[in-house]
């Protein structure tokens, strides 16, 4: 399942996509993220029959991703995003 967390408002679209088929809930991205945007949960909130751990965007960060992720996205000299780089399964993508 592709879970798109975030929002689109007057200024643009800001979504973090997590592919639950690829995520194994290892939590490497949780450690890598300096803004504590991500968290590991025991079961997929959007699939009551899936019991394996999974990464989601924390509920209290979902409506702020533009600002929380901002420091990792400078306009010039942008390094690879720590969350995306830390994932061995390529389960995380950003839309902006």
């Amino acid at each position: 399942m592709l879970a798109n967390y975030g929002y689109s408002d007057g200024s643009g679209s800001y979504f973090i996509t997590i592919d639950s088929a690829r995520c194994n809930g290892c939590g490497d991205c949780v450690v890598a993220c300096p803004a504590e945007v991500l968290q590991v949960v025991d079961e997929d909130p959007n699939d009551p029959f899936r019991d394996e751990p999974l990464v989601i965007v924390s509920r209290d960060k979902q409506k702020k991703v533009k600002y929380e992720c901002g420091p990792c996205k400078p306009p010039s000299n942008r390094l690879p995003l720590p969350c995306v780089a830390s994932c061995n399964n390529a389960a995380i993508a950003h839309s902006w």
Binding site: M1, L2, A3, N4, G6, Y7, S8, D9, G10, S13, F15, P45, N46, D47, P48, F49, Q62, K63, S95
Partner: protein, 301 residues
């Protein structure tokens, strides 16, 4: 004295153009007494609440009403309203699942499931297994969901940061333009020429823009058309992100507003799936079905 109060109440109702009818329904063809598992799904949304009771996976009764000021009371009211015309007591229900915005505050729920999962499952039930794309326009959010033939979610997004282009926005507009909410769709097509959409679906901006348009001499119907059209644009932009695959189904209150739905369908060139059920109960139906599935696995009461 009593009569004059009655008239007062009626006049009050007439002035509330956003007010839609609360309904409950009982399936005349089945009896709950024959069922092995009775499950209920309670969807407490930001604007409306629904309760659905299923007997072995068949809808037995449901209710659809406005959410009150607190979730636990709204959930109880919805369930009581659903059971009002039946002789079934709430204690007889084997499993209850809460969903929607207020799902963690449903006192009688055995567990909660997110509205994303419930809407996909519910749309699969009320529109049939061919549905692949579900759009739910709720009271304060928009959900675009892709699902498989079992109603399992494959891709979704939910925009709940901003209530632009949602049901509550339409209610505010109905009130502003003094058009009963149920007539908005029809009246938005009683125009000579399709107007330019309002530039923002943000309720606050759109409201002041609409006031300006009325002052410029626009007809009420034209302003409605401009707003419905802007709303269709916004919904479309969210749908594109998850992709649109037929069949396409719309759930939630906005499915009843053809002013938005017809304009949206023109953009995506598809026919919306049809159903005999109330489109607002999709989430609660999905919850009741999850409850039924859990009971079959032996997890019921």
């Amino acid at each position: 004295m009593e009569k004059s109060e009655d008239i007062q109440v009626r006049e009050e109702r007439q002035r509330e153009f956003w007010r839609w009818e609360e309904t409950n329904w009982v399936n005349p063809d089945i009896s709950w007494k024959d069922a092995k598992f009775l499950t209920s799904g309670i969807d407490v949304g930001s604007v409306s609440s629904q309760a659905v009771v299923m007997a072995d996976g068949v809808i037995y009764c449901y209710s659809n009403m406005r959410t009150g000021s607190d979730s636990p009371t709204s959930a109880e009211d919805a369930l009581n309203f659903a059971l009002a015309k039946t002789d079934l007591s709430a204690g007889r229900i084997n499993y209850c699942i809460g969903t929607g915005y207020g799902r963690v505050n449903v006192p009688m729920a055995d567990r909660s499931v997110t509205e994303i999962a419930c809407h996909a499952r519910g749309a699969n039930f009320i529109y049939g297994p061919h549905v692949r794309t579900v759009l739910d326009v709720g009271g304060q959010d928009i959900k675009a969901i892709r699902c498989d033939e079992k109603g399992k979610v494959t891709n979704f997004l939910m925009n709940d940061k901003c209530a632009a282009g949602t049901g509550r926005g339409m209610e505010v507009f109905a009130d502003l333009l003094q058009v009963p909410i149920g007539d908005v769709g029809d009246r938005s097509f009683r125009i000579d020429k399709e107007p330019v959409p309002v530039s923002s679906t943000c309720v606050v901006y759109a409201k002041s823009e609409a006031t300006g348009l009325l002052r410029k001499g626009w007809q009420t119907n034209e302003v409605l058309a401009a707003y419905c059209s802007a709303m269709a644009d916004r919904v479309y932009s969210l749908l594109v992100r998850v992709g649109i695959e037929p069949e396409f189904a719309v759930t939630g209150g906005m499915a009843k507003n053809k002013g938005v739905v017809d304009r949206l369908m023109k953009k995506i060139n598809l026919e919306p799936a049809k159903t005999k059920w109330d489109t607002q109960i999709a989430g609660a139906v999905g919850a009741a079905l999850f409850g039924f599935a859990l009971c079959q696995k032996g997890k019921g009461r």
